[in-house]
């Protein structure tokens, strides 16, 4: 079988690889027109950059704070949700760094991208006063690129440790270096006391207590130092980075296909959703679309994993609150969901099932019947747990009004996903900018008022029901027939029968493994709705087999940033109840 017996060309008539050509988005004219419109009416000077997948502008670094403020307060555009802030390094340029701001307007449902160019010795004014979310994002850019932010209240490293030398995401940083952290180097957290609790002198001594990083109540490896007065939290400071795995740096040294297993490990509770986000971003760059069958399976698995993500969140949060039984009840359907993923992909938690251009392998013959079985059993478990806790007075007393955040604060902190919806903003990426055909399904975005822990429970329970609704419709429609991966040998590996029997297929196979997928030169951003918010991938391609830059927008990151703000004035048990309901996944938080 493995001998090459016959030579025949495989019938591929599609386009040849398009690398070295610039990437042009499909609807570039509309995007540029909208960009020109914003630039004309924003009231601040904006230099438009055309030909990108979002309305993009280059802003002088002195003007960035007034520009952000004008865009946020503009009555028409109202870019009130700070999505992301990150850096890109172009060493060949005179001003080598791009600091990229991405904003979203809930009112108009549109995104923009602002770029500030900075040289190695220059600094950017901090925008913390405009968007509080950018506090940590600016620290991350400083940590990874060494770009200084003028006037930042606490500009120190965030993902790497204090004894780390150099800035890891610079192109001239050698990733093989190792930096040891000794005990002397560990920074002592000094929680900032909330102004409400500032007192001249008190009879009581204030105690600083570390919650985590190694405590079961602090999910994963999260650390929060709190200052207590009696039992009240009067100051809090969070420390992250304990699970930093250099996702972004590692992606730059691997091929596009090899990054997929790394994305699994971002939000490991809903791994498939990350895969979908990453693969669709690369597909956007490549200009290919996965076949219908693959899209259908992607959607179904995304919804299953969303339910599994919410199950983990609700289950573990209830364990923190002392209701252990619910965890066991809920993990039964989760186990079935994971077994379903295993039957498709061969691995349970981290399936690595998607490939760029489709799926690795077709779903098993009993996929739909198994899905139906799980969809049938899920409501029973959800109803049971909801009946156990949601009307229980102990539970309500412990969650209502606890860890509350207002709508304005939630937006300003860059919340997305269930936490934002629990604060009263019905923003869901699946509804706002549908992908995978979500617009063809009949479902609702649930939201709740209050922004407290109880509201987050309400939203998550309802979201699981809505996911079940989507799944039921998906099952009723049945799987479309056809292939599960695109028929393009520059993107997808040819089938093995052809590799063994045809010279051309063997060459394509060899080329794709050795030289990888080579997308056109350009940059693209694509977002999906993850288990706990908007998961976005920003990829810069330079036409080679390795991504030039992969940026993941982790939804947990701004949410955990607001954690200190949310627990202020409350007690330790409230802080634990709040943390669980935020669904912080350390793998994603620390990327």
């Amino acid at each position: 079988m493995s001998t090459l017996t016959r030579f025949s060309a495989i019938p591929y008539t599609g386009p040849a690889p398009t690398n070295r050509n610039p990437y042009v988005p499909a609807d570039v004219a509309t995007i540029d027109a909208r960009g020109a419109e914003i630039a004309a009416r924003a009231g601040v000077a904006l230099e438009q950059e055309t030909g990108l997948d979002l309305p993009a502008f280059i802003v002088a670094k002195e003007a960035i704070v007034p520009t952000l403020r004008a865009l946020r307060d503009h009555t028409e555009f109202q870019f009130d949700l700070p999505l992301d802030l990150f850096g890109v390094d172009y060493p060949g340029r005179e001003q080598r760094f791009d600091v990229v701001y991405q904003l979203y307007s809930v009112k108009n449902n549109e995104r923009i991208r602002l770029k500030v160019r900075v040289g190695e010795t220059e600094s950017v004014p901090t925008s913390v006063d405009v968007y509080r979310a950018f506090d940590w994002f600016e620290r991350e850019v400083f940590d990874m690129y060494g770009v200084r932010f003028e006037g930042h209240p606490n500009l120190r490293r965030i993902l790497t440790h204090e004894m780390f030398q150099g800035h890891a995401l610079r192109k001239d940083y050698d990733p093989a270096q190792r930096w040891l952290l000794s005990e002397q180097g560990v920074a002592k957290l000094k929680p900032k006391i909330d102004p409400r609790f500032e007192v001249e002198h008190s009879d009581f001594e204030r105690v600083t207590l570390n919650l985590g990083p190694s405590h079961p109540a602090m999910h994963g490896t999260l650390r929060c130092a709190v200052t207590l007065e009696g039992e009240t939290i009067v100051g809090a400071d969070q420390e992250i980075g304990y699970l930093h795995r250099c996702f972004e740096k590692m992606s730059e040294t691997h091929t596009y296909q090899q990054v997929i297993p790394f994305t699994d490990r971002l939000n490991y509770c809903s791994a498939v959703i990350n895969n979908v986000g990453y693969c669709m971003t690369v597909e956007k760059l490549l200009g290919v679309a996965a076949p219908e069958r693959a899209q259908h399976v992607r959607l179904m698995l995304s919804e299953f994993y969303r339910i599994a993500d919410h199950i983990v969140c609700i289950g573990t949060n209830l364990v923190d609150l002392g209701a252990l039984t619910n965890f066991w009840y809920l993990f039964q359907p989760r186990e079935e969901i994971i077994a379903l993923a295993e039957s498709c992909s061969g691995a349970r938690l981290l399936p690595t099932y998607l490939r760029i251009g489709g799926l690795a392998v077709d779903v098993p013959a009993d996929f739909l019947s198994n899905s139906q079985r799980i969809v049938n059993m899920l409501p029973k478990y959800i109803d049971e747990v909801e009946a156990l806790v949601m009307k229980n007075r102990i539970f309500r007393d412990r969650t209502e009004g606890v860890g509350a955040i207002t709508k304005e604060d939630a937006l300003n902190f860059g919340f997305t996903g269930p936490c934002l919806r629990a604060a009263g903003v019905p923003f869901d990426v699946r509804k706002a900018s549908p992908y995978l055909g979500y617009e063809t399904y009949d479902w609702d975005v649930p939201y709740a008022e209050g922004g407290d822990t109880y509201a987050r429970f309400l939203v998550r329970f309802e979201e699981m029901r809505q996911s079940i609704r989507i799944l039921q419709q998906a099952i009723d429609r049945g799987l479309p027939s056809g292939p599960v991966i695109v028929d393009n040998p520059y993107v997808a590996l040819p089938p093995k029968e052809k590799v063994y029997n045809e010279m051309e297929s063997l060459i394509y196979h060899f080329k794709l493994i050795m030289h990888g997928i080579q997308p056109p030169v350009g940059e693209a951003y694509f977002q999906v709705e993850g288990g706990n918010g908007e998961v976005g991938f920003y990829i810069v391609s330079d036409g080679t087999k390795n991504p030039y830059r992969v940026r993941v927008r982790p939804p947990c990151f701004p949410i955990f940033e607001a954690y200190g703000h949310m627990i202020m004035g409350q007690t330790i048990p409230d802080a634990i109840a709040t943390l669980g309901s935020l669904n912080i996944i350390a793998g994603e938080l620390d990327h």
Binding site: Q257, S343, G346, A347, F367, I394, P426, V459, I513
Partner: protein, 215 residues
Amino acid sequence: MPVTRTAPGIVRVEREAMTLSQRAYLPQILGGMLRTFRHFLRNLFNMKGLPTISYPEVKRVYSERFRGRHILTTREDGTTRCVACYMCSTACPAECITIEAGEDQRTREKFPVRYDIDLLRCIFCGYCVDACPEDAIYMTRDYEMSIDTRARAVVGLRDLVVPPDFPVEPMGWRPYYGKMDKRGTAGGTGIGQPIREAPYKEEMPIPNPDVYRGA
């Protein structure tokens, strides 16, 4: 919890006020206890329906495409199929495969002198199987890989290569192979499906190279 539609496609989940019986605290507690107790009784008298698996007496059966420990297959004449082309080590995102190539003096064929997989580095993504152009590397359903030292996590040719008559056909992760008999899952926790029923025939040997060799 009740919902009200505020806009097309958007619903608000309402927060119900507590009723008198909920405020009185005890009825809800008793109701919850009753529910838990019902579960307890049902499980007590229906031990067979329990979702837990008594590992290792009962082993969980995974699907055909399970990505477990690797094996290197051999041709009928006993030589290993691997031609040391380095495709798998190139495709490996975890960089866990180390290959050294040699040349067979008699047939002038390239073959691996050294083929090491560091199972602690391996992330079991299956990319090596996808990449192999020679049908040489497979992933089996074997998931019991406990070791006592780090050095033993590095498996070489001696551990990986299986004899020619080793039954490789029904197992392992094999995408891109076109139509294969997809018998799907036997997984799950046993709710609504027989858990002890394997997707492959009973008389087939256990696909574990160590057991097969009688180790």
